[in-house]
Symmetry: C2
């Protein structure tokens, strides 16, 4: 049974919100060795590590025309329909994030603009494992297509027969991805970062993964390839008052916990009766779950915390900065507005985290480990960079040039000053 932690002092919050750690730094030396090998030896090294780590030997990595063609028939109509609905919602929401670029005149004759420009080449990583993560395919590929990325490469590990799950191919096709490579782990990240004979080099790599994938992403980021955000173990906070439904809260608590043994759920509430009812509901529901063992382990990282007031619970949530936040309270919309740190917020009794994990339209690639204090989840902007433009006319440099000349001189940059005064002189002579 989960213990209810009652009225913790502020000093105890740090310990209460401690995450199961993923120590990727310890993996850096061995991961870097694999990356270096891939940079030097390309496809041959990718092949060797696929044999060693994934126990699969492939002559060619790319999903073939035949595999693309046969995937549709191998996926149920029910799932195909669900993928279509999810894709449409993800598309609608991410398309709504488009920004317009317009010139701003900062002073007469001086105008500036910021333009969202697609990242030309992006790599999407979709982990393998026990189940096909077609949802991650949609979450990464749909915004990449909307952003206008020209070259989109998807890597995902094959099974020992050298196959990837047809649902991953169907989701990729639906989203508009044209090239999938059957490569996993460090070798996939290295192949996309450096390029090989068969895998194109990309400028930014997206997607979750285990600690080796995360370590590889961190290392190639140090070398200049951009990454989305290092993914740590998944987590959810739930904020509830006496108006919440304990069964619903328990189901959200458990759906977070089933992700993995290092997942974390934290319920913050101001209502002791609710806390007790949730503890009971968790015990009832957990025994019915096929992933009971994993889920029970994750509960060891999880907490139910009681506060004197809802306001204090909100402060605790902002301190925790959760990846996911469920709010089931009377004034839930007002509370949602007061949240300063969270990846994604789920408002109200009919908005379990699962809705956003799959199909509400928001992205499920979100900052973990407290990084929601400063990082956004993946969104349309993750697939573009903003280029700034400026155009100064003859009038503009006459207005602003003297300012720039004074500043350059005071910073000791004489050539900067002269690039302005040369032009001012020319205009004076005209």
């Amino acid at each position: 049974m989960l213990e209810i932690i009652k009225y913790p002092a502020k000093e105890a919050w740090g310990k209460l919100t401690k995450r199961p750690q993923m120590d990727t730094k310890a993996l850096f030396a061995s991961t870097q060795a694999v990356l270096d090998d891939i940079r030097s030896h390309g496809d041959a090294a990718v092949r060797e590590y696929s044999e060693r780590f994934d126990k699969v030997s492939l002559n060619a990595f790319e999903v073939t025309d035949e595999e693309w063609a046969e995937a549709g028939a191998l996926v149920s109509d029910e799932l195909k329909n669900a993928l279509r609905v999810a894709k449409k919602n993800i598309e609608t929401f991410h398309a709504s994030q488009k920004t317009e670029s317009k010139w701003a005149e900062t002073m007469p004759g001086v105008r500036c603009m910021q333009k969202a420009t697609p990242i030309e080449k992006v790599g999407l990583y979709v982990p393998g494992g026990s189940a096909p993560l077609f949802s991650t395919v949609l979450m990464l590929a749909v915004p990449a297509i909307i952003a206008g990325c020209e070259e989109i490469v998807l890597c995902t590990p094959p099974n020992r027969e050298g196959k990837i799950h047809p649902a991953v191919i169907v989701a990729a096709k639906l989203a508009g991805v044209k090239r999938i490579f059957k490569i996993g782990g460090i070798q996939a990240i290295g192949a996309m970062a450096y390029g090989t004979g068969s895998i194109p080099k990309v400028y930014k790599i997206f997607g979750p993964g285990n600690q080796y994938v995360t370590a590889a992403k961190q290392l190639i980021a140090l070398e200049g390839t951009a990454i989305d955000v290092p993914a740590g173990p998944s987590e959810a906070a739930l904020l509830a008052d006496g108006s919440a439904n304990a069964e619903f809260i328990a189901s959200d608590f458990l759906s977070q916990a089933e992700h993995g043994v290092d997942s974390q759920s934290i319920l913050a509430t101001n209502n002791e009766q609710l806390a007790e009812a949730v503890v009971k509901a968790i015990e009832q529901q957990i025994s019915e779950l096929p992933r009971e063992e994993v889920t029970r382990k994750a509960l060891q990282n999880s907490k139910i915390v009681l506060f004197q007031t809802l306001n204090e619970a909100v402060k605790f949530i902002n301190f925790y900065a959760p990846e996911h936040l469920v709010i089931q309270c009377e004034n839930e919309m007002q509370i949602a507005e007061a949240i300063k740190n969270s990846g994604s917020i789920f408002i109200g009794r009919y908005t379990p985290v699962s809705m956003g994990d799959y199909a509400s339209g928001t992205n499920h690639t979100l900052p973990t480990a407290g990084m929601a204090t400063a990082y956004s989840g993946v969104n349309l902007d993750s697939f573009v960079k903003k280029i700034t433009f400026q155009e100064v006319t003859a009038e503009g440099i006459q207005n602003l040039g003297p300012t720039v000349a004074v500043m350059a001189e005071n910073e000791g940059l004489d050539a900067h000053k002269r690039s302005v005064t040369l032009r001012l002189d020319e205009l004076r002579e005209k």
Copy 2:
């Protein structure tokens, strides 16, 4: 004299665009040791390293009320006026980058929103050195204030008398910064990342610096503190045709080169006469510069490259992905639209890079070393994170719940499915 490189084959582009490297990885071990010490020993360690690296012994790090008060009188009115003009333009342009948040209904009963939320605590680093970098103060602090960051901390190294330049204080005051600490280098980055007795911990650290500062930023980023972008040596590309003024191009070429011995300028043109005229103008102008020695060294990294067509030169520029790009061509606006990779673009004969370095309104903290392929320069969004929200009604979960249940089941996440079906069951019973 600079040599004109004529009609290079595509295969040679990689070598032509090679940057002077900054190998921060080699500094990781020694930098990490300093960081660890600061994490463990706080202010005492900061004090010790300030003595060792900056040859200055301070009892208190924070700029005092007296220093704030006296700074104004120590700065010329001319410079104060220039700072005011620059600040206003930077403010106008960065304020124009604000985005509205609005709910998008992705399907009946399902609505989603993305809201820009200020990063509560940010740290700004302003390097010391031979000249006071008040321009960097404005470039970092003005957007932080517009974004609504609650706690803004600025660190900059003092001189051996324990003082910082009054123009830095004046710029900070003008921008709205309330706390300045006289700390430089690795110890500044560590103090802001971990917090000490006197320096607050922040969530994101901004600003340029030498290779030690950059290494420290990369290391604290691995531990979860966000950073703007690792700064490498500065660089500019110039794209010009026969319509360009060779004197102006030469002045821009040199103003980039004077930044430091590792700076780089590259002119790409389709006009041999222009290239020759620029080479001559550079020779004439350089001998008049006080920073001639530094500038001449930087010219060794710099290139003048001739192409058969302007179109090929544009391709070369996109391949280079320059931090700054000057375009002085007949169809300059059309060409600017075709640029895929650059930090900031300067269009036309009266728009030298200096305008953006100081006062046009765009930010001068920009991606270097080819990172303009995937990174933006500092902009308003750098000081916020985007939180997503979703609200699903009873109607919404009845519409979308079955989709989510199918997807969760196929990904083997039963608790996810049940968090939905539990709610659908409740609605059915109503």
